[in-house]
């Protein structure tokens, strides 16, 4: 990306008639960025404050829309701040701002929809307006050509990656398994013959494929457990629970880790030193054991606490990963720095660092989702999980184990489900790591 450069406004060959359109875009982006920052700030600060007050023992009734928006609020606030920088740079016609605006606004709109606020949807639409404005003929001429020039080789690389994916059977198998499980989990209420906590006391310890003793009830495909729960249905509902835990843990770990890693790598110095020592300490604990100690300290046993413990355990991985990438990129930038004058932080972050860290993060995240799934199931197996009765794979194994000589299927199937999902995630992660690895990527 050596062709990036700044144009001073008096250098740019502006068609005077388009300046108006450009000004509208600039103004709107400014409004959008401020709005994002404030909204994200409210969600983040609000959630944190309420939980602190709650911890201190004061009864509070926080508004519903704030509860549990910790991570997403933080992300939106950061996106908003980046957007502010973009809007500021936009005024000077800096070339990079246009494509940066495209990406940032798209991501922000996505995050807003994820907040599940009713107003989030309107806000998302509003955030997308500048994206539409980018494509006005007047504005498009500023940036479209360089953008295409930049994208064509990326697209070619992407197509080559897809070719490699198709050529590695194990990756394809992994993807198929993951997609199948996600779909089944989402469709559980329609696919599963029984409810997640439904117990048919007449049907205890039935082997796979047996008809129900209650007339009119569907067949128990994978048998029943000791309390008459249908193993197949419970596994499908369990997929919802386990996948949700694994995915949220990894996403939160990525958000926290990326932020801390990027900041520490970018600014370096004492901060960096401190953060690296902290991650060293975290790496001194095996994941499950630290998580175990954390849940123990938190007191109550639930999937929520398991998730929190795993988030605390997992972020250092990403902090290290991102920091390493940032250092690498910074190194390269020193060379380029001589040529491009006055590169702003936001520009460097967006243009160089984010695209280059995304690939290793995706690989790591895929494999980690499998690892988190295993550890979460392990934690709930040893007794940290939700109360008995909830459909969760680790807990199902723990309960089934007590009767495993009578109904081994109640242990076999949930464990096999864990193995399958985790294996699929590892297959995909392993495969795409090889595919993306520039050293292995021979043509």
């Amino acid at each position: 990306m050596t062709e990036e450069y700044h144009l001073r406004s008096d250098e740019i060959p502006i068609d005077p008639s388009t300046v108006g359109q450009f000004r509208v875009l600039w103004f709107l982006e400014l409004v959008v960025s401020i709005m994002l920052t404030i909204l994200g700030g409210i969600l983040f600060v609000g959630d944190v404050t309420y939980s602190i007050i709650e911890r201190l023992g004061y009864p509070v009734v926080p508004p519903d829309w704030i509860i549990g928006k910790f991570a997403i609020g933080f992300a939106i606030a950061v996106l908003g701040l980046i957007a502010v920088r973009i809007a500021a740079a936009l005024e000077n016609y800096e070339m990079w701002t246009f494509s940066a605006l495209l990406y940032v606004n798209l991501i922000s709109a996505g995050s807003l929809i994820l907040t599940e606020l009713s107003t989030g949807l309107y806000a998302a639409v509003f955030v997308l307006v500048p994206v539409v404005l980018l494509f006005l003929p007047g504005v498009k001429s500023y940036w479209w050509e360089t953008f295409v020039e930049d994208m064509v080789p990326r697209l070619r690389e992407f197509r080559y990656s897809m070719h490699l994916v198709r050529k590695s059977p194990l990756v394809v198998v992994g993807i198929v398994i993951i997609v199948a499980f996600v779909i089944l989990a989402l469709l559980a209420p329609w696919v599963a013959p029984y409810g997640p906590e439904e117990r048919i006391w007449a049907d205890t310890n039935l082997p796979p494929g047996s008809p129900s003793n209650v007339p009119g009830n569907p067949v128990h495909y994978w048998g029943t457990d000791n309390s008459g729960g249908d193993v197949f249905s419970r596994i499908l509902y369990g997929a919802q629970v386990d996948l949700r835990v694994a995915i949220t843990v990894v996403i939160v770990a990525i958000v926290i880790g990326t932020f801390l890693g990027a900041v520490s790598g970018y600014y370096g110095g004492k901060l960096d030193e401190l953060l690296m020592r902290v991650t060293d300490v975290f790496f001194a604990f095996p994941g499950l054991i630290l998580a175990m100690a954390i849940v123990m300290a938190l007191g109550s046993r639930s999937l929520e606490n398991i998730s929190v413990a795993l988030m605390v355990t997992w972020w250092p991985t990403y902090a290290r990963l991102v920091r390493g990438q940032v250092l690498l990129e910074r190194e390269k930038l020193y060379v380029e720095a001589a040529r491009s004058v006055g590169a702003s932080d936001a520009r460097i972050l967006i243009y160089h660092i984010i695209p280059n860290t995304i690939q290793p993060i995706i690989v790591q995240a895929t494999m980690d989702t499998g690892a988190v799934l295993l550890v979460a199931a392990g934690l709930s197996f040893i007794g940290f999980g939700p109360p008995a009765g909830i459909a969760e794979w680790g807990l199902m194994i723990a309960k089934g184990q007590e009767y495993f000589s009578i109904s081994p299927w109640a242990v076999f199937f949930p464990g096999f489900a864990i193995l399958l999902v985790s294996l699929a995630l590892n297959l995909v992660g392993d495969g795409i790591r090889d595919i993306l690895d520039p050293k292995l990527r021979r043509r």
Partner: protein, 395 residues
Amino acid sequence: MSDDELVLKVEDLVTNFYTYEGVVKALDGVNLFLRKGDTMGLVGETGCGKSVTARSILRLVEPPGRIEGGRILLYVPNEESGNVEEVDLLKLSEEDMLHVRGRLVSIVFQDPATFPNPVFTIGDQIAEVVMLHQDLRKEALEIRIEELRNALDKLEGKGGLVSSTRREKIRERLAHYESQLDDPPEPDPKYKKKAALKIAEDMLRLVKMPAPDKVMMQYPHELSGGMRQRALIAMALACNPLILICDEATTALDVTVQAQVLNLLNELKKEVGTSIIIITHDMGVVAETCSWVTVMYAGTTVESCATEELFYNPRHPYTAGLLTAVPKLHENRERLPQIRGSVPNLITPPPGCRFHPRCDYATGICETEKPHLKEISPGHWVACHHPLPDKGGKR
């Protein structure tokens, strides 16, 4: 030129790489001949297939690459009969090939930083190839005898009953070993290694390595680039190979070291009797060190003749263009002339003569028919339908 002075003859060598984007036809009819005791320069633009040629000769082309045709003839003197045997390397079994690599044909690669194995000492790495290819029975026995002699000398000074019986025993063994000198037995590994290390140290001395005894015990990362390159050359020459290929062996070095290494190679050639192929971009290097030059273009041989002949009387349009592109000291031009157009894509190379799209003299035949390497005047081979006129003996 009669064939019996040759040591290597490569005929119509074809090597392809099977890649995602298509088949890279890296070599398409390469012809080389190397005479005994000669130094041949192999020159051409980057990507024209010089390294692939070198690797093909040793059959070290790695997948997705494959050698698909041609002959690589090596003329090996048979020590007993004194005759020269012709061996086609492409027909040898992989096992027989192991006896060729390192012993008959050695190679020194471009980058001294990445080629030595980082976890073994220089001494070990040179000794390894010596132990592999040389019969060290005599050397090992000699080392053993020398050690016994030294032990004896040490005991001489001391009196006493114990040492006198030990002296007796040592003398006995010494006599036994000395009687074996004419037909040494298979040595035990320890002495074989010692003998190999001794030869390795001699090799380091031969390549003018400073402090060879110390370097023997050092790891590659402890040496400078020039020293590493010397170590690699020592490794390649350790078994007195018939042919030494230097694939840009000096490009990574700075100019003074480069000159030293080149001079060294020429000296060694006289001493060891090896024939050398020097692969390089640098016409200056060719002019100084080579007696014969082969020019390659896009995977084909285009011209092959004595060095002087090439410089003063190039017959292939590509060679002529290449030579005018070389800056000369006495000329002061604003811009170096260039050959127009660019190096062809080797996946879809031009049909016929691969140079024709860039050639000022191209005609219809050049687009359809591939020119073959022909001896158009004594000692001058050119692959061109319309070679440039002979400038005669104008030197």
